[in-house]
Protein backbone atom coordinates (compact mmCIF):
# COMPACT_ATOMS: atom_id res chain seq x y z
CA UNK A 1 0.00 0.00 0.00
CA UNK A 2 1.35 3.34 -0.91
CA UNK A 3 1.91 5.72 1.98
CA UNK A 4 -0.01 8.39 0.16
CA UNK A 5 -3.18 6.26 0.10
CA UNK A 6 -3.20 6.27 3.91
CA UNK A 7 -2.29 9.91 4.26
CA UNK A 8 -5.08 11.17 2.08
CA UNK A 9 -7.76 8.83 3.42
CA UNK A 10 -8.48 9.87 7.01
CA UNK A 11 -11.00 7.07 7.65
CA UNK A 12 -8.42 4.43 6.73
CA UNK A 13 -5.79 6.24 8.74
CA UNK A 14 -7.99 6.27 11.88
CA UNK A 15 -8.69 2.57 11.49
CA UNK A 16 -5.00 1.71 11.08
CA UNK A 17 -3.96 3.93 14.01
CA UNK A 18 -6.45 2.07 16.20
CA UNK A 19 -5.05 -1.28 15.10
CA UNK A 20 -1.47 -0.21 15.85
CA UNK A 21 -2.30 1.27 19.26
CA UNK A 22 -4.42 -1.69 20.36
CA UNK A 23 -1.52 -4.10 19.77
CA UNK A 24 0.25 -2.71 22.83
CA UNK A 25 -2.82 -3.21 24.99
CA UNK A 26 -3.66 -6.64 23.61
CA UNK A 27 -0.16 -7.97 24.13
CA UNK A 28 -0.20 -6.86 27.77
CA UNK A 29 -3.78 -7.68 28.73
CA UNK A 30 -4.99 -10.69 26.76
CA UNK A 31 -2.38 -13.20 28.02
CA UNK A 32 -3.49 -12.49 31.61
CA UNK A 33 -6.75 -14.23 30.84
CA UNK A 34 -5.22 -17.49 29.70
CA UNK A 35 -2.07 -17.63 31.83
CA UNK A 36 -3.03 -19.92 34.69
CA UNK A 37 -0.94 -18.24 37.38
CA UNK A 38 -2.19 -14.65 37.06
CA UNK A 39 -4.32 -14.87 40.22
CA UNK A 40 -2.55 -16.58 43.12
CA UNK A 41 -4.27 -19.47 44.83
CA UNK A 42 -4.66 -18.33 48.43
CA UNK A 43 -7.19 -18.95 51.18
CA UNK A 44 -9.12 -16.24 52.93
CA UNK A 45 -10.00 -13.82 50.15
CA UNK A 46 -13.74 -13.28 50.16
CA UNK A 47 -16.17 -10.73 48.74
CA UNK A 48 -17.04 -7.82 51.05
CA UNK A 49 -19.83 -8.14 53.57
CA UNK A 50 -22.84 -5.87 52.94
CA UNK A 51 -21.56 -3.24 55.41
CA UNK A 52 -18.02 -3.31 53.99
CA UNK A 53 -19.47 -3.08 50.50
CA UNK A 54 -21.38 0.10 51.36
CA UNK A 55 -18.14 1.41 52.83
CA UNK A 56 -16.34 0.69 49.60
CA UNK A 57 -19.05 2.59 47.71
CA UNK A 58 -18.55 5.58 50.01
CA UNK A 59 -14.79 5.28 49.54
CA UNK A 60 -15.37 5.66 45.82
CA UNK A 61 -18.02 8.35 46.19
CA UNK A 62 -15.67 10.51 48.24
CA UNK A 63 -12.88 9.92 45.72
CA UNK A 64 -10.43 8.49 48.25
CA UNK A 65 -8.70 6.71 45.36
CA UNK A 66 -7.61 10.08 43.98
CA UNK A 67 -5.03 10.39 46.74
CA UNK A 68 -4.70 6.84 48.08
CA UNK A 69 -3.55 3.77 46.18
CA UNK A 70 -4.30 0.23 47.27
CA UNK A 71 -1.32 -1.58 45.89
CA UNK A 72 1.81 -2.35 47.85
CA UNK A 73 4.47 -3.02 45.25
CA UNK A 74 7.19 -5.65 45.66
CA UNK A 75 10.03 -3.36 46.73
CA UNK A 76 11.93 -3.39 49.99
CA UNK A 77 10.99 0.17 50.96
CA UNK A 78 7.29 -0.54 50.44
CA UNK A 79 7.61 -3.82 52.31
CA UNK A 80 9.13 -2.01 55.29
CA UNK A 81 6.56 0.77 55.28
CA UNK A 82 3.31 -0.99 54.39
CA UNK A 83 3.87 -4.70 54.82
CA UNK A 84 3.47 -7.59 52.42
CA UNK A 85 3.11 -6.65 48.75
CA UNK A 86 -0.40 -6.91 47.35
CA UNK A 87 -1.49 -10.07 45.59
CA UNK A 88 -3.65 -10.11 42.50
CA UNK A 89 -5.94 -12.47 44.42
CA UNK A 90 -6.60 -9.82 47.05
CA UNK A 91 -8.47 -7.61 44.61
CA UNK A 92 -10.15 -10.30 42.55
CA UNK A 93 -13.58 -9.31 43.91
CA UNK A 94 -13.01 -5.57 43.53
CA UNK A 95 -14.99 -4.04 40.70
CA UNK A 96 -13.45 -1.65 39.95
CA UNK A 97 -10.12 -2.40 41.62
CA UNK A 98 -8.59 0.43 43.65
CA UNK A 99 -4.89 -0.10 42.82
CA UNK A 100 -4.13 3.39 41.61
CA UNK A 101 -0.73 4.97 41.16
CA UNK A 102 -1.29 8.39 42.72
CA UNK A 103 -0.09 8.60 46.28
CA UNK A 104 -0.77 11.99 47.76
CA UNK A 105 -1.63 10.10 50.92
CA UNK A 106 -0.22 6.75 51.99
CA UNK A 107 -1.14 3.44 50.40
CA UNK A 108 -4.14 1.84 52.10
CA UNK A 109 -3.88 -1.75 50.88
CA UNK A 110 -2.78 -2.93 54.35
CA UNK A 111 -4.42 -0.33 56.58
CA UNK A 112 -6.91 -2.83 58.05
CA UNK A 113 -6.28 -3.38 61.75
CA UNK A 114 -3.40 -0.90 61.81
CA UNK A 115 -5.34 1.75 63.71
CA UNK A 116 -8.30 1.63 66.07
CA UNK A 117 -11.85 2.40 64.93
CA UNK A 118 -11.76 5.44 67.18
CA UNK A 119 -8.70 6.73 65.36
CA UNK A 120 -10.35 6.30 61.96
CA UNK A 121 -13.46 8.18 63.09
CA UNK A 122 -11.43 11.05 64.54
CA UNK A 123 -9.10 11.12 61.56
CA UNK A 124 -11.90 11.19 58.99
CA UNK A 125 -13.75 13.93 60.87
CA UNK A 126 -10.67 16.10 61.09
CA UNK A 127 -7.32 14.63 60.03
CA UNK A 128 -5.28 17.47 61.48
CA UNK A 129 -6.64 16.74 64.96
CA UNK A 130 -4.50 13.61 65.08
CA UNK A 131 -1.92 14.25 62.36
CA UNK A 132 -1.21 17.99 62.46
CA UNK A 133 0.86 17.97 59.26
CA UNK A 134 -1.87 16.23 57.23
CA UNK A 135 -3.30 17.89 54.11
CA UNK A 136 -6.27 15.52 53.92
CA UNK A 137 -9.64 17.30 53.92
CA UNK A 138 -12.25 16.88 56.66
CA UNK A 139 -15.19 14.53 56.08
CA UNK A 140 -17.58 15.59 58.88
CA UNK A 141 -20.73 14.55 57.00
CA UNK A 142 -19.79 10.87 57.26
CA UNK A 143 -20.84 10.89 60.91
CA UNK A 144 -23.92 13.08 60.32
CA UNK A 145 -25.35 11.06 57.45
CA UNK A 146 -27.26 7.92 58.31
CA UNK A 147 -26.24 5.11 56.01
CA UNK A 148 -28.70 4.43 53.23
CA UNK A 149 -28.78 0.67 53.00
CA UNK A 150 -32.19 0.27 51.38
CA UNK A 151 -30.64 -0.68 48.04
CA UNK A 152 -27.92 -2.97 49.37
CA UNK A 153 -29.46 -6.04 47.72
CA UNK A 154 -29.44 -4.27 44.33
CA UNK A 155 -25.82 -3.29 44.77
CA UNK A 156 -24.85 -6.87 45.50
CA UNK A 157 -26.92 -8.16 42.59
CA UNK A 158 -25.08 -5.78 40.27
CA UNK A 159 -21.72 -7.07 41.45
CA UNK A 160 -22.99 -10.63 41.11
CA UNK A 161 -23.38 -9.97 37.39
CA UNK A 162 -19.69 -9.12 37.14
CA UNK A 163 -18.80 -12.46 38.69
CA UNK A 164 -18.63 -11.72 42.43
CA UNK A 165 -20.14 -14.79 44.15
CA UNK A 166 -22.98 -13.13 46.06
CA UNK A 167 -25.71 -15.73 46.17
CA UNK A 168 -29.35 -15.49 45.02
CA UNK A 169 -30.25 -19.15 44.76
CA UNK A 170 -29.88 -22.06 47.16
CA UNK A 171 -27.41 -23.71 44.76
CA UNK A 172 -25.19 -20.61 44.77
CA UNK A 173 -25.42 -20.44 48.54
CA UNK A 174 -24.38 -24.08 48.86
CA UNK A 175 -21.47 -23.46 46.54
CA UNK A 176 -20.38 -20.54 48.74
CA UNK A 177 -20.60 -22.70 51.86
CA UNK A 178 -18.23 -25.09 50.16
CA UNK A 179 -15.80 -22.38 49.06
CA UNK A 180 -15.87 -19.96 51.99
CA UNK A 181 -17.52 -21.80 54.89
CA UNK A 182 -20.92 -21.13 56.39
CA UNK A 183 -20.14 -17.86 58.23
CA UNK A 184 -18.92 -16.12 55.10
CA UNK A 185 -21.56 -17.74 52.86
CA UNK A 186 -24.28 -16.27 55.10
CA UNK A 187 -22.78 -12.82 54.61
CA UNK A 188 -22.82 -13.30 50.83
CA UNK A 189 -26.51 -14.23 50.77
CA UNK A 190 -28.26 -11.35 49.04
CA UNK A 191 -31.61 -12.07 50.68
CA UNK A 192 -30.03 -11.59 54.13
CA UNK A 193 -28.10 -8.46 53.15
CA UNK A 194 -29.93 -5.89 55.28
CA UNK A 195 -29.99 -8.06 58.38
CA UNK A 196 -26.31 -8.87 57.99
CA UNK A 197 -25.43 -5.22 57.51
CA UNK A 198 -27.29 -4.16 60.64
CA UNK A 199 -25.94 -7.05 62.67
CA UNK A 200 -22.33 -6.25 61.76
CA UNK A 201 -22.89 -2.58 62.55
CA UNK A 202 -24.42 -3.42 65.95
CA UNK A 203 -21.75 -5.95 66.86
CA UNK A 204 -18.68 -3.93 66.01
CA UNK A 205 -20.02 -0.38 66.31
CA UNK A 206 -17.25 1.04 64.13
CA UNK A 207 -18.44 4.65 64.44
CA UNK A 208 -18.75 4.66 68.23
CA UNK A 209 -22.44 5.57 68.04
CA UNK A 210 -24.35 2.57 69.40
CA UNK A 211 -27.79 3.67 68.26
CA UNK A 212 -27.03 4.77 64.72
CA UNK A 213 -25.68 3.28 61.50
CA UNK A 214 -23.82 6.09 59.80
CA UNK A 215 -21.80 6.34 56.61
CA UNK A 216 -18.77 6.47 58.89
CA UNK A 217 -19.70 3.02 60.17
CA UNK A 218 -19.58 1.52 56.68
CA UNK A 219 -16.40 3.29 55.65
CA UNK A 220 -14.47 2.30 58.79
CA UNK A 221 -15.72 -1.29 58.44
CA UNK A 222 -14.31 -1.28 54.90
CA UNK A 223 -10.98 0.28 55.90
CA UNK A 224 -10.55 -2.20 58.75
CA UNK A 225 -10.83 -5.20 56.43
CA UNK A 226 -8.39 -3.93 53.79
CA UNK A 227 -5.45 -6.27 53.38
CA UNK A 228 -6.42 -8.52 56.29
CA UNK A 229 -8.05 -11.41 54.44
CA UNK A 230 -4.94 -13.42 53.60
CA UNK A 231 -3.03 -14.94 56.51
CA UNK A 232 0.52 -14.61 55.18
CA UNK A 233 1.99 -16.61 58.04
CA UNK A 234 0.43 -19.69 56.45
CA UNK A 235 2.51 -19.46 53.29
CA UNK A 236 6.16 -19.64 52.35
CA UNK A 237 7.24 -16.46 50.61
CA UNK A 238 8.65 -18.49 47.73
CA UNK A 239 5.13 -19.74 47.07
CA UNK A 240 3.97 -16.33 45.88
CA UNK A 241 7.06 -15.90 43.69
CA UNK A 242 6.10 -19.07 41.80
CA UNK A 243 3.16 -17.19 40.33
CA UNK A 244 5.28 -14.62 38.50
Amino acid sequence: MRHENIEVNSGLMIALIMVVISIGGLVEIVPLFYINETVEKVDGVRPYTPLELRGRDIYQREGCYLCHSQMVRPFRDEWLRYGHYSLAAESKYDHPFQWGSKRTGPDLARVGGKYSNQWHVQHLLKPTSVVPESIMPNYPWLLNNDLDYSDIADRMTALRRTGVPYSLTQAEYDANVKTFGKTVADQLDISQAQDNLLKQARTFNYDGLPNRVTEMEALVAYLQVLGTMVDFSKYDEGYFAEFR
Binding site: R81, E133, D236, F240
Partner: protein, 311 residues
Protein backbone atom coordinates in the same frame (compact mmCIF):
# COMPACT_ATOMS: atom_id res chain seq x y z
CA UNK B 1 7.29 35.75 4.00
CA UNK B 2 8.22 36.44 0.43
CA UNK B 3 11.92 36.61 1.36
CA UNK B 4 11.94 33.15 2.94
CA UNK B 5 10.07 31.79 0.00
CA UNK B 6 12.78 32.97 -2.36
CA UNK B 7 15.38 31.43 -0.04
CA UNK B 8 13.69 28.05 -0.20
CA UNK B 9 13.51 28.14 -3.94
CA UNK B 10 17.28 28.25 -4.17
CA UNK B 11 18.64 24.96 -5.39
CA UNK B 12 20.11 22.91 -2.50
CA UNK B 13 21.76 19.56 -2.05
CA UNK B 14 18.80 18.18 -0.08
CA UNK B 15 15.99 16.60 -2.04
CA UNK B 16 12.38 17.62 -1.50
CA UNK B 17 9.50 15.17 -1.04
CA UNK B 18 8.12 16.31 -4.36
CA UNK B 19 4.93 17.70 -2.85
CA UNK B 20 4.05 21.35 -3.34
CA UNK B 21 1.30 23.05 -1.33
CA UNK B 22 -0.20 26.42 -2.13
CA UNK B 23 1.83 26.43 -5.27
CA UNK B 24 5.29 26.92 -3.74
CA UNK B 25 5.34 25.35 -0.25
CA UNK B 26 7.77 22.43 -0.34
CA UNK B 27 9.12 19.90 2.17
CA UNK B 28 12.77 18.87 2.53
CA UNK B 29 13.40 15.15 2.72
CA UNK B 30 16.27 15.25 5.24
CA UNK B 31 17.62 11.95 6.55
CA UNK B 32 17.06 11.27 10.28
CA UNK B 33 19.81 12.65 12.54
CA UNK B 34 22.43 9.97 13.08
CA UNK B 35 22.35 10.20 16.91
CA UNK B 36 18.60 9.61 16.83
CA UNK B 37 18.83 6.68 14.49
CA UNK B 38 21.58 4.96 16.49
CA UNK B 39 19.67 5.52 19.72
CA UNK B 40 16.72 3.82 18.11
CA UNK B 41 18.79 0.82 17.06
CA UNK B 42 20.22 0.68 20.58
CA UNK B 43 16.72 0.40 22.09
CA UNK B 44 15.97 -2.46 19.71
CA UNK B 45 19.12 -4.29 20.79
CA UNK B 46 18.28 -3.58 24.45
CA UNK B 47 14.82 -5.06 24.00
CA UNK B 48 16.18 -8.28 22.50
CA UNK B 49 18.70 -8.71 25.34
CA UNK B 50 15.89 -8.00 27.82
CA UNK B 51 13.78 -10.81 26.34
CA UNK B 52 16.49 -13.30 27.14
CA UNK B 53 17.20 -12.08 30.64
CA UNK B 54 13.77 -11.31 32.08
CA UNK B 55 10.27 -12.82 32.00
CA UNK B 56 8.63 -11.32 28.92
CA UNK B 57 6.66 -13.04 26.20
CA UNK B 58 3.40 -14.89 26.85
CA UNK B 59 3.41 -18.35 25.30
CA UNK B 60 0.22 -20.38 25.58
CA UNK B 61 -0.76 -20.63 29.24
CA UNK B 62 2.75 -19.71 30.38
CA UNK B 63 5.46 -17.25 29.45
CA UNK B 64 9.17 -17.04 28.70
CA UNK B 65 10.84 -16.98 32.12
CA UNK B 66 14.20 -15.45 31.27
CA UNK B 67 17.63 -16.75 32.29
CA UNK B 68 18.23 -14.57 35.36
CA UNK B 69 17.69 -16.04 38.79
CA UNK B 70 17.32 -14.88 42.39
CA UNK B 71 18.55 -16.68 45.48
CA UNK B 72 16.95 -16.66 48.89
CA UNK B 73 16.70 -18.82 51.97
CA UNK B 74 13.45 -20.28 53.09
CA UNK B 75 12.74 -22.81 55.78
CA UNK B 76 16.47 -23.10 56.41
CA UNK B 77 17.36 -24.06 52.88
CA UNK B 78 18.69 -21.99 50.08
CA UNK B 79 16.59 -21.75 46.98
CA UNK B 80 17.47 -20.43 43.57
CA UNK B 81 14.53 -19.63 41.39
CA UNK B 82 13.88 -17.69 38.22
CA UNK B 83 14.04 -13.94 38.46
CA UNK B 84 10.83 -12.03 38.98
CA UNK B 85 9.93 -9.00 41.06
CA UNK B 86 8.91 -11.22 43.97
CA UNK B 87 11.95 -13.50 44.09
CA UNK B 88 14.14 -10.43 43.57
CA UNK B 89 12.44 -8.77 46.53
CA UNK B 90 13.10 -11.81 48.70
CA UNK B 91 16.74 -11.73 47.75
CA UNK B 92 16.90 -8.00 48.44
CA UNK B 93 15.21 -8.42 51.82
CA UNK B 94 17.63 -11.16 52.84
CA UNK B 95 20.97 -10.41 51.23
CA UNK B 96 20.64 -6.91 49.77
CA UNK B 97 23.35 -4.45 50.87
CA UNK B 98 20.97 -2.27 52.91
CA UNK B 99 19.20 -5.22 54.48
CA UNK B 100 22.49 -6.86 55.46
CA UNK B 101 23.82 -3.72 57.09
CA UNK B 102 20.59 -3.21 58.96
CA UNK B 103 20.37 -6.82 60.06
CA UNK B 104 23.79 -6.57 61.71
CA UNK B 105 22.37 -3.97 64.07
CA UNK B 106 19.06 -5.75 64.58
CA UNK B 107 20.94 -8.91 65.54
CA UNK B 108 22.94 -6.95 68.08
CA UNK B 109 19.72 -5.53 69.52
CA UNK B 110 18.09 -8.96 69.60
CA UNK B 111 21.05 -10.49 71.41
CA UNK B 112 21.52 -7.75 74.01
CA UNK B 113 19.39 -7.18 77.09
CA UNK B 114 17.70 -3.83 77.60
CA UNK B 115 20.22 -2.53 80.11
CA UNK B 116 23.09 -3.22 77.70
CA UNK B 117 21.36 -1.50 74.80
CA UNK B 118 20.68 1.51 76.98
CA UNK B 119 24.39 1.88 77.80
CA UNK B 120 25.78 1.22 74.32
CA UNK B 121 26.01 4.49 72.35
CA UNK B 122 26.30 2.72 69.00
CA UNK B 123 23.21 0.59 69.51
CA UNK B 124 21.35 3.55 70.94
CA UNK B 125 22.18 5.63 67.87
CA UNK B 126 20.70 2.90 65.70
CA UNK B 127 17.62 2.68 67.93
CA UNK B 128 17.08 6.40 67.52
CA UNK B 129 17.48 6.39 63.76
CA UNK B 130 15.54 3.25 62.92
CA UNK B 131 13.07 3.82 65.74
CA UNK B 132 12.16 7.27 64.46
CA UNK B 133 11.24 5.84 61.06
CA UNK B 134 9.29 2.91 62.46
CA UNK B 135 7.54 5.25 64.88
CA UNK B 136 6.54 7.63 62.09
CA UNK B 137 5.30 4.78 59.94
CA UNK B 138 3.28 2.97 62.57
CA UNK B 139 2.82 4.87 65.81
CA UNK B 140 2.71 8.57 64.99
CA UNK B 141 -0.80 8.50 63.48
CA UNK B 142 -2.19 8.19 67.02
CA UNK B 143 0.62 9.18 69.37
CA UNK B 144 1.89 12.09 67.28
CA UNK B 145 5.23 12.42 65.55
CA UNK B 146 7.03 13.30 68.74
CA UNK B 147 5.00 10.90 70.89
CA UNK B 148 3.04 13.75 72.44
CA UNK B 149 -0.33 12.02 71.93
CA UNK B 150 -3.69 13.79 71.64
CA UNK B 151 -5.39 14.88 74.86
CA UNK B 152 -8.69 13.07 75.22
CA UNK B 153 -7.82 10.42 72.65
CA UNK B 154 -4.34 8.94 72.56
CA UNK B 155 -1.81 8.73 75.40
CA UNK B 156 1.30 10.84 75.58
CA UNK B 157 4.50 8.77 75.45
CA UNK B 158 7.03 11.43 76.38
CA UNK B 159 5.96 12.07 79.97
CA UNK B 160 6.75 9.76 82.88
CA UNK B 161 3.17 8.71 83.46
CA UNK B 162 2.29 5.23 82.23
CA UNK B 163 -1.12 3.57 82.20
CA UNK B 164 0.20 0.10 81.45
CA UNK B 165 3.66 0.45 82.93
CA UNK B 166 6.77 2.13 81.59
CA UNK B 167 9.48 -0.48 81.98
CA UNK B 168 11.11 -1.94 78.86
CA UNK B 169 9.21 -5.18 79.34
CA UNK B 170 5.87 -3.40 79.85
CA UNK B 171 6.30 -1.33 76.70
CA UNK B 172 7.39 -4.38 74.73
CA UNK B 173 4.29 -6.25 75.91
CA UNK B 174 2.01 -3.33 75.08
CA UNK B 175 3.34 -3.06 71.52
CA UNK B 176 3.24 -6.81 70.93
CA UNK B 177 -0.28 -7.51 72.17
CA UNK B 178 -1.99 -4.14 71.99
CA UNK B 179 -4.15 -2.73 74.78
CA UNK B 180 -7.81 -2.26 75.45
CA UNK B 181 -8.52 0.31 78.14
CA UNK B 182 -11.95 0.27 79.69
CA UNK B 183 -13.91 2.22 82.24
CA UNK B 184 -17.67 1.73 82.66
CA UNK B 185 -20.10 4.59 82.17
CA UNK B 186 -21.44 5.94 85.48
CA UNK B 187 -24.33 7.73 83.83
CA UNK B 188 -26.88 5.31 85.22
CA UNK B 189 -25.14 4.64 88.52
CA UNK B 190 -24.50 8.16 89.79
CA UNK B 191 -26.80 11.16 89.62
CA UNK B 192 -25.62 14.60 88.56
CA UNK B 193 -24.88 15.76 92.08
CA UNK B 194 -22.89 12.61 92.79
CA UNK B 195 -20.95 13.00 89.55
CA UNK B 196 -20.10 16.56 90.61
CA UNK B 197 -18.88 15.30 93.97
CA UNK B 198 -16.73 12.56 92.47
CA UNK B 199 -15.23 14.98 89.97
CA UNK B 200 -14.41 17.42 92.79
CA UNK B 201 -12.73 14.66 94.76
CA UNK B 202 -10.70 13.46 91.78
CA UNK B 203 -9.53 16.99 91.05
CA UNK B 204 -8.71 17.64 94.70
CA UNK B 205 -6.33 14.66 94.66
CA UNK B 206 -3.95 16.57 92.43
CA UNK B 207 -4.72 19.98 93.92
CA UNK B 208 -6.55 21.18 90.81
CA UNK B 209 -9.42 22.31 93.08
CA UNK B 210 -9.53 22.93 96.81
CA UNK B 211 -10.79 20.06 98.91
CA UNK B 212 -14.21 21.00 100.28
CA UNK B 213 -17.48 19.41 101.35
CA UNK B 214 -18.26 18.28 97.84
CA UNK B 215 -14.95 16.49 97.50
CA UNK B 216 -15.45 14.90 100.91
CA UNK B 217 -18.76 13.49 99.68
CA UNK B 218 -17.00 12.44 96.48
CA UNK B 219 -14.41 10.57 98.56
CA UNK B 220 -17.23 8.55 100.13
CA UNK B 221 -18.53 7.61 96.69
CA UNK B 222 -15.03 6.90 95.35
CA UNK B 223 -14.06 4.66 98.22
CA UNK B 224 -17.49 3.24 98.96
CA UNK B 225 -19.75 0.73 97.29
CA UNK B 226 -21.76 3.37 95.40
CA UNK B 227 -19.02 4.39 92.99
CA UNK B 228 -16.49 1.69 93.71
CA UNK B 229 -13.84 3.68 91.82
CA UNK B 230 -11.12 2.37 94.15
CA UNK B 231 -11.55 -1.12 92.71
CA UNK B 232 -9.77 -0.11 89.53
CA UNK B 233 -7.95 3.08 90.47
CA UNK B 234 -6.67 1.67 93.77
CA UNK B 235 -7.17 2.78 97.34
CA UNK B 236 -4.71 5.62 96.95
CA UNK B 237 -6.13 6.47 93.48
CA UNK B 238 -2.68 5.98 92.01
CA UNK B 239 -3.90 3.61 89.32
CA UNK B 240 -3.21 -0.11 88.89
CA UNK B 241 -0.80 -1.06 86.17
CA UNK B 242 -2.35 -4.41 85.32
CA UNK B 243 -5.69 -2.71 84.62
CA UNK B 244 -4.31 0.30 82.80
CA UNK B 245 -6.23 2.55 85.19
CA UNK B 246 -5.06 6.13 85.43
CA UNK B 247 -3.14 7.62 88.32
CA UNK B 248 -5.52 10.36 89.48
CA UNK B 249 -3.18 11.98 91.97
CA UNK B 250 -0.84 13.63 89.47
CA UNK B 251 -1.51 16.56 87.19
CA UNK B 252 -1.25 14.51 84.02
CA UNK B 253 -4.58 14.21 82.22
CA UNK B 254 -5.04 12.04 79.19
CA UNK B 255 -8.80 11.88 78.76
CA UNK B 256 -10.33 14.80 80.65
CA UNK B 257 -8.89 17.95 79.16
CA UNK B 258 -8.27 19.59 82.52
CA UNK B 259 -5.23 21.66 81.47
CA UNK B 260 -7.36 23.50 78.90
CA UNK B 261 -10.00 24.35 81.50
CA UNK B 262 -9.40 27.68 83.22
CA UNK B 263 -12.03 27.73 85.96
CA UNK B 264 -12.67 25.09 88.65
CA UNK B 265 -16.17 24.64 87.23
CA UNK B 266 -14.82 23.85 83.75
CA UNK B 267 -12.35 21.39 85.26
CA UNK B 268 -15.16 19.63 87.09
CA UNK B 269 -17.17 19.49 83.87
CA UNK B 270 -14.24 17.92 82.01
CA UNK B 271 -13.75 15.17 84.60
CA UNK B 272 -17.50 14.67 84.96
CA UNK B 273 -17.84 13.99 81.23
CA UNK B 274 -15.29 11.16 81.43
CA UNK B 275 -16.86 9.60 84.54
CA UNK B 276 -20.30 9.92 83.02
CA UNK B 277 -19.48 8.45 79.59
CA UNK B 278 -16.88 5.99 80.72
CA UNK B 279 -14.05 4.85 78.48
CA UNK B 280 -15.64 2.44 76.07
CA UNK B 281 -13.98 1.41 72.81
CA UNK B 282 -11.88 4.54 73.01
CA UNK B 283 -8.58 3.31 74.39
CA UNK B 284 -7.99 0.56 71.85
CA UNK B 285 -4.44 -0.01 70.72
CA UNK B 286 -3.96 -2.65 68.00
CA UNK B 287 -1.50 -5.49 68.49
CA UNK B 288 1.65 -4.99 66.40
CA UNK B 289 2.74 -8.59 66.56
CA UNK B 290 2.80 -9.71 62.94
CA UNK B 291 2.96 -6.21 61.53
CA UNK B 292 6.35 -5.65 63.17
CA UNK B 293 8.97 -8.30 63.73
CA UNK B 294 9.91 -9.26 67.29
CA UNK B 295 13.26 -7.47 66.84
CA UNK B 296 11.53 -4.32 65.63
CA UNK B 297 9.19 -4.41 68.63
CA UNK B 298 12.14 -4.77 70.97
CA UNK B 299 13.83 -1.84 69.29
CA UNK B 300 10.65 0.21 69.57
CA UNK B 301 10.40 -0.58 73.28
CA UNK B 302 13.82 1.01 73.74
CA UNK B 303 12.96 3.93 71.46
CA UNK B 304 9.73 4.72 73.30
CA UNK B 305 11.37 4.15 76.68
CA UNK B 306 13.94 6.83 75.96
CA UNK B 307 11.46 9.31 74.44
CA UNK B 308 10.96 10.64 77.90
CA UNK B 309 9.77 8.86 80.93
CA UNK B 310 10.84 5.25 80.71
CA UNK B 311 10.98 3.57 84.09
Amino acid sequence: MSETTTNQQKPTAVQTTGHAWDGDLQEFNNPLPRWWLWSFYATVVFAVIYWFLYPTWPVGSSWTKGVLSATFTEGGKQETMRWNTRSALLEDLQTGADATRQREYFEKIAAADFATIQKDPQMLAFVNQAGKRIFETNCSACHGRGGQGVVGLFPNLVDDDWLWGGTFKDIQYTITHGRNGYMPSFKGTLNTAQLDDVASYVLSLSGEVQADEASARGKQIFEGPVGGCYMCHGDAAKGIKSMGSANLTDKIWTLANVPAATTPEAKIEAVKAVVSNGVINVRTMPAWDGRMSADEIKLMAVYIHQLGGGQ
